[in-house]
């Protein structure tokens, strides 16, 4: 009933706004700071009219219908849920951001482009190298269903740089402790990937305990893990990501076919270091200064 009412309300809203249809319809998964930062960055760059719908706020609303009624020139999807809600739209160009694995959602759709959340493996590897660990061996746990592609990229990049990577597949979070215990001694740096099979509250805790017991630094993808015991994170910059997507949108709005614009990786990253952990592990951060 509530859903029906909201749908009706939104329909009414957009029916009324039809005459002044916006250029960009922003569909945001939920209100979180990185998403808001990204949208702010987008707006900094793309000055077209925007209309924002947050899915978490308009729970159950039919976004496809909304888009049909709104008829924007461009859809900006922020977050995986947002992108999923418009994956059936093929006639309006979609620019996404803050989505980890967009290809899994959109498949080979031509009207989609955007900025990936993943930071290129080379950046990570450069960061790891700057830690100057003697005989650096990198351990990775991953769910092939989630991060298989990214791990391949890592392995390729590492191979080219001569860095030893020990990657083990995990299909269930419960396997993590056992597999990790089995990997003991095969790596001296753990690379934590944004893989929800590997990273659960329990596994993260276990992981941290394990790495601490083995005096193994953890390189992770989000600052929040640095706060709780990881050594360093290489995080995306939401604002810049938004700007990157904004530039992409501008090109689309200026007439460039979206299919001609390739998906891009985040061009800027933010490093966060836990110096206490570093001093405990006896890691020299001098190399990191120049990174």
């Amino acid at each position: 009933m509530r859903t029906l009412f909201l749908t009706f309300l939104i329909s009414l809203l957009f029916a009324a706004a039809n005459a002044f249809a916006s250029d960009v319809l922003v569909i945001q998964s939920l209100h979180v700071k990185p998403f808001d930062d990204a949208l702010r960055g987008f707006r900094n760059v793309c000055k077209s009219d925007t209309k924002t719908v947050v899915i978490a706020d308009a729970a159950g609303a039919d976004m496809v219908r909304l888009v049909r009624e709104e008829r924007p020139r461009l859809i900006l999807a922020i977050g995986a849920d947002a992108l999923k809600s418009v994956k059936r739209i093929r006639d309006i160009p979609i620019v996404y951001m803050m989505v980890l694995n967009p290809e899994k959602i959109m498949g080979d759709a031509k009207n989609v482009s955007g900025v990936d959340m993943n930071i290129p493996p080379s950046k990570y590897l450069s960061l790891m190298e700057s830690l100057r660990l003697p005989k650096m061996r990198v351990g990775i746990l991953y769910d092939p269903a989630q991060s298989g592609g990214f791990v391949k990229k890592i392995q390729q990049t590492a191979r080219s740089r001569g860095i030893e990577i020990t990657a083990r597949e995990v299909h269930n979070p419960k396997e993590v402790p056992e597999i990790l215990a089995g990997m003991k001694g095969s790596f001296n740096l753990f690379w934590m990937l944004p893989d929800s099979t590997v990273v659960t509250p329990e596994t993260f805790e276990f992981l941290l305990l394990f790495t601490q017991q083995n005096r193994t630094p953890v390189v992770t993808f989000a600052g929040k893990y640095v706060d709780t015991g990881a050594l360093v994170s290489l995080d995306i910059d939401g604002l810049d990501l938004g700007k990157q997507a904004g530039e992409m949108a501008n090109r689309v709005l200026d007439g460039t076919r979206v299919s001609d614009i390739p998906c891009a990786e985040a061009r800027k990253s933010v490093i966060k270091i836990n110096r206490k952990v570093a001093s405990k592990l006896g890691i020299n951060l001098a190399g990191l200064e120049n990174f």
Binding site: S196, P201, K224
Partner: protein, 667 residues
């Protein structure tokens, strides 16, 4: 003192009451405190046990998350074993989310009360994880079981959320297992036993301490109180000079101070009261005295209080008025001096008699100083022991009463007189008739004899000349010839006198019949009377004098009757003269101011004694009965003068003569 008495005394003793109260309070407080202490301590211990159990269960649950998550039984056993090492823990068990027991460790090999059914475990696992976050407790008599769920966060389907630091919501938890920690209560029981023992020891100690302290404290309180009571009791019995020592500066000290102040005030008040009462008594006395004096002065009788020495102690206003003396002047003076003007007590003083016999006495006085008669009563005045201290001297002026009494007596006498007169009148009327006839006969016979004598005389003369002298009737004719006419004249005169007396008697009896309407000249009356009595006057005196006013006023009346009066008076005056050298003087006067014509008949004869003077007008009273007085003259004269509305008065002193005065109203 027998035990019941001691008990009664104790029951009534303030100290005992206070002591009982204190002891009761101490006992109650001690018991309450002990109970509170034991309860509090055991509760605290229980709480500690519970928190320890909760903590252990939570800790174990938390630590078991990964092993349960990873189903690492070895790790779980090690964790459970670690918990079992804690003192009170007797049993630890960890269950999987399907209720399967993953591990169990029992201290000392005891199975513990761990037989919680699978269903129960499942129920607890199946409960809302949100509500299960804190451990649930199952308490039995011997132990407490703590169940803590092993909570895991729900894996977020959104991979992006791995990036976000926002915390997941509680609904995103799930229970993956259950931890059970059983803690035994043996220590708690032991602890409670110890606590009770300590409590009892403390109770006994504080109770003794409290009771001893309370006793000393009460002694300190009640001793000054007792002394205060003693003081109050003494004041109560009237000893207002009682003071209580102020020993403390507390309320009792203040009470003692207040009591002392009160006692002082009371003492002062008492003194003031006594003074006031004295003043009041004096005032009352004064008032009573004044009232008494007012009463004393109100009495119209002459009242005096006289002491044994006949000195005046007090007189009332009546005495002061009558004797023209102030009260103050009278005090201390002798009564006989003040009342009678004498230097010593008068002989008839009733107080002298009272001083002799101590009884009340009465006497009648005539006090010439006041020209009044008094009836005096002297009543003895005695002290409370009966000794005579003086008298109350009350004199009543009975002058008026006496006058009235005299008048009454006069009226009575007059009545008697009138009766007498009436009888006399009747007798006189009869007698006059009886006397008159023979008298007429005598008179007629004398007249006839005179005629006979007259006719005989030439014959007898003839014979004398012829024959010489001869004896007739025992006398010589020559003598007889001379004396016979006189004899005859004597008969005639006596007869005439009888006739006169009869006539007078008749007039006296039948007075009022006379004509009273004549205009009478008093000078003429006096002249006629004198001429009628010329013979008698010649016979009695050589000094008879008429002293008439020139023009005498007329009075209305009967001239004959008035003549009779004047004749009577002149006759009396003449008869009072002892010899011829004494004089009689008749004068007429006119007292214009009184409107009275006055006839005065004065002599310097023998005068009258008082006795005679008082009875002058009494009929048949006469000093001259032997000389032929009838005793009717003045009685008749008085009646006649009164008939003429006049007054007949006498002024007489024995040896000095008498003056009779007739006062007649002038027309």
């Amino acid at each position: 003192m027998t035990p019941p008495h001691i008990l009664t005394r104790l029951r009534e003793s303030f100290k005992a009451k206070l002591f009982s109260l204190f002891t009761l309070v101490i006992v109650v407080i001690s018991f309450s405190f002990t109970i509170f202490f034991v309860r509090h301590e055991s509760n605290t211990y229980l709480e500690q046990l519970v928190s320890e159990g909760k903590l252990l269960a939570s800790l174990l649950a938390y630590n078991s998350r990964l092993p349960v998550f990873a189903e690492n039984l070895e790790e779980l056993h090690s964790a459970a074993d670690g918990i079992t090492k804690h003192d009170n823990v007797v049993s630890v068990a960890i269950y999987a989310s399907d209720g399967e027991m993953l591990t169990e460790v029992n201290k000392g090999g005891a199975a513990g009360n761990s037989a919680l059914k699978n269903a129960e475990i499942k129920k607890r696992i199946g409960a809302d994880p949100g509500k299960m976050i804190s451990p649930s407790i199952l308490e039995t008599r011997d132990d407490i079981s703590f169940y803590s769920p092993i909570i895991s966060e729900v894996i977020n389907p959104s991979t992006e959320s791995l990036y976000f630091s926002d915390k997941p919501k509680p609904t995103e938890y799930r229970t993956i297992g259950l931890v059970r920690v059983v803690l035994e209560k043996a220590n708690l029981k032991r602890r409670i036993r110890d606590l009770l023992l300590i409590g009892a020891l403390f109770l006994g100690f504080f109770l003794s301490l409290g009771i001893v302290g309370a006793y000393n404290l009460l002694k300190g309180i009640t001793n000054p109180l007792n002394r205060l009571m003693e003081g109050v009791r003494n004041v109560g019995t009237g000893d207002l000079s009682q003071r209580v020592p102020i020993e403390t500066a507390d309320e009792i000290g203040e009470v003692a101070l207040a009591f002392n102040t009160m006692a002082e005030t009371l003492e002062r008040r008492e003194a003031e009261k006594a003074q006031l009462e004295e003043q009041l008594r004096l005032a009352q006395k004064m008032e009573a005295k004044e009232e008494w004096e007012r009463t004393f002065d109100t009495v119209t009788d002459l009242v005096a209080i006289i002491d044994r020495d006949q000195r005046i102690v007090q007189i009332n206003e009546a005495i002061a008025d009558r004797f023209h003396i102030t009260k103050e002047e009278a005090v201390g003076k002798n009564c006989f001096f003040v009342f009678h003007g004498k230097e010593s007590a008068i002989a008839e003083c009733p107080y002298l008699q009272q001083l002799e016999d101590g009884r009340e006495h009465e006497a009648e006085f005539y006090e010439s100083k006041l020209d009044s008669h008094f009836w005096t009563t002297v009543t003895p005045l005695r002290k409370s022991d009966g000794a005579l201290m003086g008298c109350v001297h009350v004199s009543r002026d009975i002058t008026e009463w006496k006058r009235a009494e005299d008048e009454k007596k006069a009226i009575q006498a007059k009545l008697i007189q009138t009766n007498k007169m009436t009888s006399l009148g009747l007798m006189v009327s009869g007698m006059a008739h009886e006397v008159n006839n023979p008298n007429n006969s005598i008179k007629f016979t004398a007249h006839v004899i005179a005629k006979v004598w007259h006719d005989l005389l030439p014959v007898l003369d003839q014979y004398f000349r012829e024959e010489g002298d001869f004896v007739i009737g025992g006398q010589n004719y020559s003598q007889m010839r001379e004396s016979f006419p006189q004899l005859l004249s004597g008969i005639t005169e006596s007869s005439r006198r009888i006739e006169g007396i009869i006539k007078n008697l008749r007039e006296f009896v039948q007075k009022g019949k006379a004509d009273m309407s004549m205009q009478v000249d008093i000078n003429r009356i006096v002249s006629i009377s004198a001429s009628i009595l010329s013979n008698q006057i010649k016979m009695h005196t050589d000094h008879f004098k008429l002293d008439l006013i020139e023009t005498a006023p007329n009075v209305r009346g009967n001239s004959q009757q008035l003549e009779q009066v004047v004749i009577n008076l002149i006759m009396n005056a003449l008869q009072a003269l002892p010899d011829r050298d004494k004089s009689v003087r008749v004068e007429t006067l006119f007292d214009e101011s009184a409107g009275e014509a006055v006839i005065k008949v004065s002599d310097n004869g023998t005068g009258m004694p008082v006795e005679a003077k008082n009875r002058l007008f009494e009929p048949f009273f006469s000093t001259k009965l032997e000389n032929g007085g009838t005793g009717l003259g003045l009685a008749i004269s008085n009646v006649i003068v009164k008939d003429h509305r006049g007054v007949l008065e006498f002024d007489s002193e024995p040896g000095m003569g008498t003056t009779a005065i007739i006062k007649l109203p002038v027309e």
